[in-house]
């Protein structure tokens, strides 16, 4: 008999986040019931998708990985050729029925493909295998970088890099690479980044240099967070958030609303939930039996935390504004579906952990 299996700890954590999302959206979105209903519908769709994916065996995933990845790559190429321009960047593919962001699918396809490549030979990977793994990682990332969507590209690179790290990439090589990337920063700044991206970094270093221009959003966001204090100003009572000082406050900048109204205590609780989810994912990675599943589970879990880190980091003025939403809390559908699908894969791995199915 076929039984639907989910991972209760993960599901519980995700539900906590979803409910918090609806609550804070009510306040951040100007108390619009339309926003709440839309978000709830998306959550329903995303959770359904997650539960379906949770029933898939890792072995099946492994078999389908090259096809999934190739399809994603083709669609990425299509976006560059015929895609829709939204908010100044070319990210959307209009399939008639739905509009679709192929870069979202790549958030799953890239770690899967890199894990697929490295597990074909024994670990740690040799140079040849490393080359293929790196190519599988960099080609789609470059496509996404020229859309241009720096935030997504970097996070996809991170997800692939995590696989390579988990597969045993030597520590000394990591040290060398880190040194090289630091040296590369100025080159990237002057030759690769677009003018608007450079401005974001300048803003980050000294937001008060242009308080009414590029620094405006980040200053207002920091004032919101900072004025929240330990206990926050109360739900719906944030004068910064409600007074319309913060652009994008129901999407990318929702964390500033959350922390102004819920205070440091609320933030601690929120981060605890995130850490608990990721820890559970790493636990699943630890106790599963086959290598592909381990790598994938480890990468997906940790990448999830990178999203959290990058979003809170940018909203709190530590990282440049790169347009990454706060996972499962920000208003928006596409990223939620991808994230939930990722958790579906984690659940699937855990559901089938005892089977040596390679």
């Amino acid at each position: 008999m076929f039984r639907i299996k989910v991972d209760m700890p993960l599901l519980f954590g995700l539900m906590l986040l979803s409910v918090s999302s609806l609550f804070i959206l009510w306040s951040a979105g100007g108390e619009s019931s339309r926003l709440i209903i839309n978000q709830a519908i998306r959550m329903g769709v995303a959770v359904t998708g997650m539960i379906i994916i949770a029933q898939i065996r890792p072995a099946t995933l492994f078999r389908w990985t090259p096809l999934f990845y190739t399809a994603g790559l083709v669609m990425l190429a299509l976006v560059l050729l015929v895609g829709d321009v939204g908010k100044g960047a070319q990210r959307w593919l209009d399939l008639g029925v739905i509009r679709f962001q192929p870069s979202e699918a790549m958030k799953l396809a890239v770690p899967m493909m890199v894990a697929w490549v490295v597990t074909r030979k024994s670990l740690p990977p040799n140079m040849k295998n490393l080359f293929w793994a790196t190519s599988a990682l960099m080609v789609p990332s470059m496509f996404i970088l020229v859309q241009p969507d720096l935030g997504t590209a970097l996070l996809i690179i991170m997800s692939g890099a995590l696989i390579i790290f988990l597969a045993g990439f030597a520590w000394r090589h990591i040290a060398i690479l880190s040194a090289l990337s630091v040296a590369f920063v100025p080159i990237a700044y002057y030759f690769i980044l677009e003018a608007y991206q450079q401005r974001r970094i300048q803003t980050l270093i000294d937001p008060w240099s242009d308080p009414l221009g590029s620094g405006y959003q980040i200053i207002q966001s920091m004032i919101a967070i900072g004025s929240g204090g330990a206990q926050g100003k109360g739900w719906g009572q944030g004068s910064q958030s409600q007074g319309d000082f913060i652009p994008d406050r129901h999407t990318d900048f929702i964390f500033s609303v959350f922390s102004e109204e819920m205070g440091f205590i609320g933030v601690l609780l929120l981060i605890t939930v995130y850490v608990a989810l990721v820890a559970r994912g790493l636990y699943i990675a630890y106790y599963t039996k086959d290598t592909f599943s381990r790598l994938l589970a480890g990468s997906l879990s940790m990448t999830f935390f990178f999203y959290v880190f990058v979003n809170i980091g940018m909203v709190a003025g530590m990282l440049p504004v790169v347009g990454v939403p706060l996972p499962l809390i920000s208003y928006g559908g596409t990223s939620m579906v991808t994230l939930m699908a990722g958790f579906g894969i984690l659940m699937g791995i855990h559901n089938h952990r005892s089977l040596m199915s390679r």
């Binding site: 995590l162 900072g226 929240g228 204090g229 790493l282 980091g313």
Partner: protein
């Protein structure tokens, strides 16, 4: 065996490797989480005082600057919708220490009604305390002065100058312009909130709703520095708003007013169109309502009174009223016949009724004694029903309904107003689909005289008449003539013309049009034409027209239509369509007088007066000398032909 051992060894090695790396990730997770917590602690706890000060006191605000809504003018530049400054008394709840005390104090110097107060209080409850709420709209000069003197006593209250929509012609243009209303919760679900920042009003009906995107304009932004009391210290930066487009209608408001005046207090509709261009010159639906009452929200009692009024002033009859066209479409049926090879010289004898082959049912002519031997020209001139029974029976419903549809009946005219129905031209499939029964020959006879299931709007009748005047060239009617853009916007040109689309040519020969137009000219010009006495006497130009009567209640077989025993709402609707001058048509008019009796008696004089006013500038209702007075009196009540 050995290979399996190596594999097992590999697997164990891999497991250990990945496990050690996973532990490294756990450490990384801990570090990253601590960094986040440390950062938020630094902002929220360590620097809390500084940020709290920043958030409370000296702060930069983005204040939306609402655009000025575009004005609406008639074709001669007369203002139909404008924005007038009013002073409103507003309260910011977060700055108020004791609300009851404040309201008490304010009501001593300013007249505030209990309903204003209860409305205000519910607004305060349902909104957040840093959102300003309006206590009273439109302060008088004295109230303004009294408030200014006592302002220091009322912390949290302020007077704001705002622009309010006003319609100087009140009801005259109500059905065309519609009105604006305050944005409500339902609107907020469907509009782009960013575009409406600081804007209070949204177009609700008519041109105001249809051209909302153009009238609205673009919101501007001011970056201001405010002090702890929320008072603005200085403006730092400003992106000015872009005013909405001004709209110039094709309508001539003078003609519009006169047309309604000629209609009197009767329910009905007058539409006047320039045939060549499709420009709508007058668009009257009577009775009307005062749109100014809706601007700040109409009170329940007045609204219910309007809604329950038996004359239904809120209904825009001209665009959405559906009537049987009656004999006004006989010209079209004749043309359908001509196009099918019907000889215009065919004479038919009208004995006062018509019987289908082998049936006993008598289809009656409006003239019970009959018209005798009747030609096509006479059939239109006298509006003989029997001629059309025979003609439509001969050519059949398929040809008739195809021809009427080709003329644009049964589909939307494409006018630039919302809520246009398509009307109905019945056909075989329609009846099978809708009623589940097949088409009977008797149905065809009814369609042939414009009764039965045929339904048209007054607007469609007007457009049909314009198409006749154009000899088949179909145009889309247009209320709006041009938009004038604000120059500081992103519009490239100052003016954009709003032309209706050309819809092509009706499939009929010039000869057919000539025959029908001659006959319709005779209706008005020939001494025995049905509309001669009502519309044709002493005309200084040539006019072609057609009367019509639409049945409201069925008359039993053998019974007599007797207006005296029917109540007002059961009387027939009177219709008249016309265009003039025949040689080079400048105006096409369609008139419907609900329950007006006969087309020639009630509707035709209205069309004549409207045409007189437009072409000659002659006002029939202007004070007249005794000589013409008696003549006018003689026209009234005469000519009961259908």
């Amino acid at each position: 065996m050995a290979a399996a051992q190596i594999e097992l060894k590999d697997y164990l090695r891999e497991t250990n490797l990945i496990h050690s790396r996973l532990i490294a990730l756990v450490v990384l997770l801990g570090i990253l989480a601590l960094i986040l917590i440390a950062r938020v602690w630094y902002l929220q706890i360590y620097n809390n005082e500084r940020f709290e000060l920043l958030s409370k006191d000296n702060r930069v605000r983005l204040v939306p600057v609402p655009p000025v809504r575009g004005q609406i003018f008639d074709r001669n530049g007369k203002v139909l919708a404008e924005n007038i400054p009013v002073f409103t008394l507003e309260v910011l709840p977060q700055d108020v220490e004791d609300m009851d005390e404040l309201l008490d104090g304010l009501s001593k110097i300013i007249e505030v009604s209990p309903s204003d107060i209860s409305k205000f209080k519910s607004q305060v409850r349902s909104h957040r305390k840093f959102e300003t709420q309006v206590l009273k709209i439109d302060l008088s000069e004295q109230e303004l002065a009294r408030f200014s003197v006592n302002r220091h006593r009322f912390r949290g209250a302020k007077v704001q100058a705002r622009l309010q929509r006003s319609y100087p012609y009140a009801g005259e243009m109500a059905h065309v312009l519609g009105y604006v209303g305050r944005i409500n919760q339902r609107d907020k679900e469907s509009i782009d909130l960013k575009a409406y920042k600081g804007t209070d009003y949204i177009g609700r009906r008519g041109i105001e709703a249809r051209y909302e995107d153009h009238l609205l304009g673009q919101v501007g932004v001011e970056q201001v520095e405010a002090n702890a009391h929320g008072q603005i210290i200085r403006t730092l930066d400003r992106k000015p708003p872009v005013s909405g487009d001004d709209i110039y209608l094709n309508i001539d408001v003078e003609l519009q007013i006169k047309a309604r005046e000629y209609l009197g207090d009767r329910r009905g509709s007058v539409i006047a169109i320039e045939p060549e261009s499709g420009e709508v010159l007058a668009f009257v639906s009577n009775p009307v309502y005062d749109p100014n009452k809706f601007v700040n929200g109409i009170d329940h009692r007045s609204y219910n009174a309007l809604r329950e009024d038996v004359n239904r002033p809120l209904v825009n009859r001209t665009i959405s009223g559906r009537y049987a066209p009656g004999s006004t479409i006989k010209g079209l049926v004749s043309m359908a016949g001509l196009e099918q090879g019907w000889n215009p010289n065919t004479n038919i004898t009208c004995p006062g009724f018509y019987r289908l082959n082998g049936k006993s049912h008598r289809y009656r002519c409006w003239k019970r004694s009959g018209h005798g031997v009747t030609s096509m020209l006479e059939s239109i001139m006298f509006s003989c029903d029997v001629y059309y029974y025979q003609l439509s029976n001969a050519i059949g419903i398929d040809k008739i309904s195809a021809f009427l549809k080709d003329f644009g009946l049964g589909s939307k005219t494409g006018i630039d107003l919302k809520g246009e129905p398509s009307g109905l031209v019945p056909s075989r499939e329609w009846k099978r689909r809708q009623r589940g029964v097949s088409w009977y020959p008797g149905d065809t006879l009814n369609v042939g005289i414009g009764q039965g299931d045929v339904l048209v709007t007054p607007l469609q009748l007007g457009v049909m008449t314009a198409t006749l005047a154009n000899r088949g060239k179909r145009v889309e009617p247009r209320i709006v003539g041009r938009l004038e853009h604000s120059l500081n916007g992103d519009a490239e040109e100052e003016v954009s013309l709003m032309k209706g689309a050309e819809l092509g040519q009706v499939n009929a020969s010039d000869q057919s049009f000539q025959t029908i137009i001659d006959a319709m000219t005779a209706v008005v010009q020939h001494p025995r034409g049905t509309a001669h006495r009502a519309a044709g006497l002493n005309a200084e130009y040539t006019m072609a027209g057609k009367t019509g009567t639409a049945q409201v209640v069925g008359i039993a077989q053998g019974a007599e239509y007797d207006a005296s025993i029917l109540n007002d709402f059961q009387k027939d609707h009177a219709l008249f369509v016309s265009f003039a001058p025949v040689e080079q048509p400048k105006i096409a008019v369609a008139v419907i007088v609900e329950n007006g009796g006969s087309g020639s008696g009630a509707a035709a004089p209205v069309a004549r007066k409207v045409t007189d006013f437009y072409l000659l500038g002659k006002d029939a209702n202007a004070p007249v000398d005794a000589g013409t007075l008696s003549q006018t009196a003689a026209t009234v009540g005469l000519g009961v032909a259908r």
